[in-house]
Amino acid sequence: MTRHLSVIALAAALGATSAAAQDTLTISVYSFAQDAYKEALYDPFEEICNCELVIETGNSVERMAKIEANAADPVIDMAVISSHDALSLAQKGLLQPIDTSRISSFDRLYPAAQDPIGDNMAVGYTFYASSIVYREDLVSIESWSDLLGDDLAGNVSLPNITGTQGPLTLMMLDKAAGGDASDFTGTISAIGESADDIVTFYSRSSELAQLMNQEEVIAAPVGRFAWSRFKSSPLPFAWADPVEGQAGGMNVMLMTKENGNEDLAYMLMDYWLSAEVQTRIAEALIDSPANMDVVVSDEVAENLTYGAELINSLNILDPAEIIANRDGWVEQWNTEVIQ
């Protein structure tokens, strides 16, 4: 009897393992707002697909390293990442082109999100604006060049060059100085000359929120996705509208090469990019929508990078430009700014 039960248990276990292996989709995502994502995206999707989502989180470098290390036998089926990091993975041959016919709302995405890095290697799912958050009771911001001006000396923080916001800040400072975003050498030198007036170079928006709430810093460039951290503060923070405009960026979805789980990955992409889910995610103030059919209230829109007019006005740095120049920027930054 015991032997029979053991055999049945083993068979059940093997069956369960086999079923789980068939119906598991592993995705790699940013680690922020995972509880909200679970409610708005993961749980509803698992009910529809009758599958299990395995969520891997971490910063971009960690997640890209994992995709690269497992290229021969991918453990990640689908990932969301910045457009320039996606381009970097594509250039290493780690991605497969996306069959856009399998994404029903593809035509309803903003044109910039449909093929952001070329060859259909990725599709944009969210935009973000970047501008300057500042204490409106202490200072006014008219231009990106104010960041290096006398009024903010000793009270300003800039993003580190190695993060997503770093290159965007360089682009806008270059634009404010009359540049055409083709060469940031002079801008990095200018930051180096003002390095003593910059409190610190932050790496994460949560770090900046802490600095500003402790009144160590009164102005800094940051992505709009972090605005809720400042808006809920008792201190009077404002979002600048500089004369040079706002910078912008995009996060994208991608599919790892030969992962063998394409059907489920396409099902998730299709679901994630649908107007229904993009609206739910936007209303939860997680991500700004890339689907043009999303309609949200003015109150919600105020917290997001929302609407064609705003999205089309963003100064977006070419991902290829970032990939091609990043090493040089970091080297000059380490020599002239950090040191």
Binding site: M64, T162, V199, E215, I338
Partner: protein, 274 residues
């Protein structure tokens, strides 16, 4: 105790195997990256490349400087505190010693964040400076070498005091009065009597404080930020930002060499006859 040596070795085998598998082997694999070129052949190019960069050199020198400063200052303050503690009555000694040990029971993260409250623009120090009219505006204390130095000293001073108290408790009670009776001033008492008799404690405390200061991550990261990089924070950046495991491995090796060198130098100093 054992009838034969193999019985003793058999008992130690599980611990030895565990340590080898989960510590020595992974560390050896990680460190070996620093001695390989792209093709996997032995190479010291990683070290050449590391020290060729001015930023890395300045971070190395800053780490060494802060490590020496923290260990040196901890030794000066630690000797005074330890001398005071060992000369207290037994009851008071226990209480004061408990206070010295207390910070070690609090997370380094909590202790370091406390310094933000103290050293920040709206912190106690700046409130006092502005209140006393010493400055019209708050002065920059956070994200400076001074902030990192203060944080590290506060973090590791108890280790020096504990080591020196243990050493001083073993000094015979009458040698210091004897030295004084024979005409030695306090300066001579310290260098001719106390220091030679507490060398071992100084070596242990100095090694703990120096290596602790070198390898601390949280305190330099919070109080120094990216403008006051130390080797440990640079190592984190190499792994988590640049995905540059070769440089990270080189830094890890440099830190290990610095720690062992500090111990050797301190032992050497301790072995010099007074």
């Amino acid at each position: 105790m054992f009838l034969n040596r193999s019985e003793g070795l058999a008992l130690a085998l599980p611990a030895a195997l565990f340590t080898t598998m989960v510590f020595l082997v992974p560390v050896a694999i990680l460190l070996s990256i620093a001695f390989q070129d792209g093709a996997g052949a032995f190479s010291l190019q990683g070290y050449v490349d590391f020290f060729a960069q001015p930023l890395n050199r300045s971070v190395f020198l800053r780490t060494l400087k802060l490590g020496i400063l923290v260990a040196g200052t901890a030794a000066v303050i630690g000797y005074a505190a330890a001398f005071c503690i060992v000369n207290l009555p037994a009851t008071s000694r226990g209480r004061i010693f408990g206070l010295v040990v207390l910070p070690l029971m609090i997370s380094p993260v909590a202790r370091t964040y406390a310094w933000i409250v103290i050293l920040g623009r709206t912190g106690i120090v700046n409130d006092t400076i502005v209140g006393l009219g010493l400055s019209d505006t708050p002065i920059r204390l956070l994200f400076t070498e001074t902030a990192v130095f203060i944080g590290l000293l506060q973090l590791f001073l108890p280790l020096m005091i504990i080591s020196l108290v243990s050493a001083m408790e073993n000094i015979p009670k009458d040698v210091i009065p004897a030295a004084r009776v024979l005409g030695a001033n306090w300066f001579q008492v310290f260098f001719k009597v106390i220091l030679p008799l507490t060398r071992e404690g100084l070596v242990i405390g100095g090694t703990l404080v120096f290596t602790g200061a070198l390898t601390a991550y949280i305190t330099p990261a919070i109080l120094g930020g990216s403008k006051v990089l130390m080797l440990e924070t640079l190592l984190y950046q190499k792994v988590n930002v640049s995905n540059d495991f070769v440089s990270a491995s080189v830094i890890a090796m440099i830190l290990i060499v610095m720690c062992f060198s500090a111990n050797l130098v301190l032992k050497r100093i301790a072995s010099v006859k007074g």
